[in-house]
């Protein structure tokens, strides 16, 4: 039996990752430089999306979506998100159905690049970065 792994970095975690190199501050959000992006359609859970949207940084999410080729998110999140089915679906696609398999997260402040391999961002620092 062949398993195809869809474990991959999604915007949900990318939206929370900052550069952790010693002394580098105000670096959020990192830029996603994707080389392999895959999409897999899953069922949208509107409750989860509206719930989770209160907890993510929206401007960063919009920017990162554009990094990985998802356009059309409004500049600001409408207050009545729960009634906007179309936008919820787009957010679902951006947050959960789009997988960055390979690429990097780049810090535009200090230039550090965190590789994304097999869908997992690698945040390990070298000794002199700690």
């Amino acid at each position: 039996f062949f398993f195809f792994f869809f474990f991959s970095m999604r915007l949900l975690s990318a939206n929370t990752i900052v550069c952790i190199v010693k002394g580098c501050t105000d670096n959020f959000p990192l830029q996603i430089v994707p080389t392999v992006v895959e999409q897999e359609e899953t069922e949208c859970n509107p409750e989860f999306i509206t719930h989770i949207m209160h907890r993510v940084d929206y401007p960063a999410l919009k920017r990162m979506s554009e990094d990985i080729g998802i356009h059309g998110l409004p500049d600001e999140l409408p207050a009545d998100l729960e009634n906007n089915e179309q936008l919820i679906q787009l957010l679902h696609t951006a947050l959960l159905d789009t997988h960055v398999q390979q690429g990097e997260l780049a810090c535009n402040k200090c230039g550090r690049k965190y590789p994304i391999a097999q869908g997992i961002p690698n945040m390990l620092l070298t000794e002199n970065e700690v």
Binding site: F3, F5, F6, F7, S8, M9, R10, L12, S13, T16, I17, V18, C19, I20, V21, K22, G23, C24, T25, N27, F28, E40, T42, N45, F48, H51, I52, R55, V56, L96, G119, I120, P121, N122, M123, L124, L125, V130
Partner: protein, 253 residues
């Protein structure tokens, strides 16, 4: 989704565990019996699993996260240093078709320690001679704290509860307390964690110092199978406490 604890335990039976455990990382799998008890307790007594975002530090082969997902967690995030362990964890999630519910981040928890908030230097539980990175002069480290702290606080709005079985700190002293400290700063509501009963007084004292409410939910025997060459006895039983730390008062916004 599992209906009860027994079913959860039997679902976990078929999950894979470390094929080549690494001694230095103290990779002992949380067995299905223990994992099901911990997660079911959090579910039944505190309603902190179903529909929630669960994190795990040192997620290893992912038993606690998998148990959470099987109990209805809406999303799971595992932080793990070891690539091999993450590979096993992802396979396990895949076999249960729960891969849409999980993400992993490769990170070294000891590099994330942000002592800023709790401002204290002594973090070793088993001995005073801590050799972890944070024992360097704190003035010199102040810069790294702020970027690590920033990292931790970014995750906090997302992660409701952290459930973990951290290294006991027998190979690298103090690492158990580093995990606990980072977890308390990273979760919005609560942290469930296993610690050796021998460190109980120390942990309760630290929790008080940090302003975190600690409750011991159970005294358990952690069965460490004979996985490593240095184990002379067949199985080693370690007495551990299962804690629930209520961290909500730390992060009122």
């Amino acid at each position: 989704m599992a209906r009860n604890r027994k079913q959860l335990e039997s679902l976990l039976q078929s999950a894979n565990v470390f094929s080549k455990p690494k001694i230095k990382l103290e990779q002992y799998p949380t067995n299905p019996h223990l994992a099901s008890h911990i997660v079911f307790m959090a579910h039944q007594n505190y309603d902190e699993i179903e529909g929630k975002v669960i994190g795990e530090l040192g997620s290893g082969c992912g038993n606690l996260l998998l148990a959470s997902a099987l109990m209805g967690a809406s999303y799971c995030i595992g932080f793990e240093l070891d690539e091999d362990a993450m590979g096993i964890a992802r396979e396990n999630f895949s076999e249960y078709e729960l891969d849409t519910h999980v993400e992993f981040v490769r990170a070294d928890v000891t590099q994330l320690v942000a002592v800023g908030q709790f401002s204290e230097d002594d973090s070793s539980s088993d001995s005073k001679s801590s050799e972890n990175s944070e024992s360097q002069s704190s003035a010199e480290n102040s810069e790294s704290k702020s970027s690590a702290e920033n990292f931790i606080s970014r995750w906090r709005p997302l992660i409701d509860t952290i459930i973990m079985n951290p290294p006991f700190g027998t190979k690298v002293q103090g690492v158990d307390m580093i995990f606990l400290q980072v977890a308390c700063q990273m979760a919005r509501k609560s942290v469930y964690s296993l610690h050796k009963t021998s460190t109980r007084q120390y942990i309760l004292q630290k929790a008080r110092q940090w302003g975190v409410e600690a409750e011991i939910l159970a005294e358990l025997k952690f069965d460490i199978p004979n996985m490593y060459k240095f184990h002379k006895k067949k199985n080693v039983e370690v007495e551990v406490d299962l804690y629930r730390f209520d961290v909500s008062m730390l992060h009122r916004n």
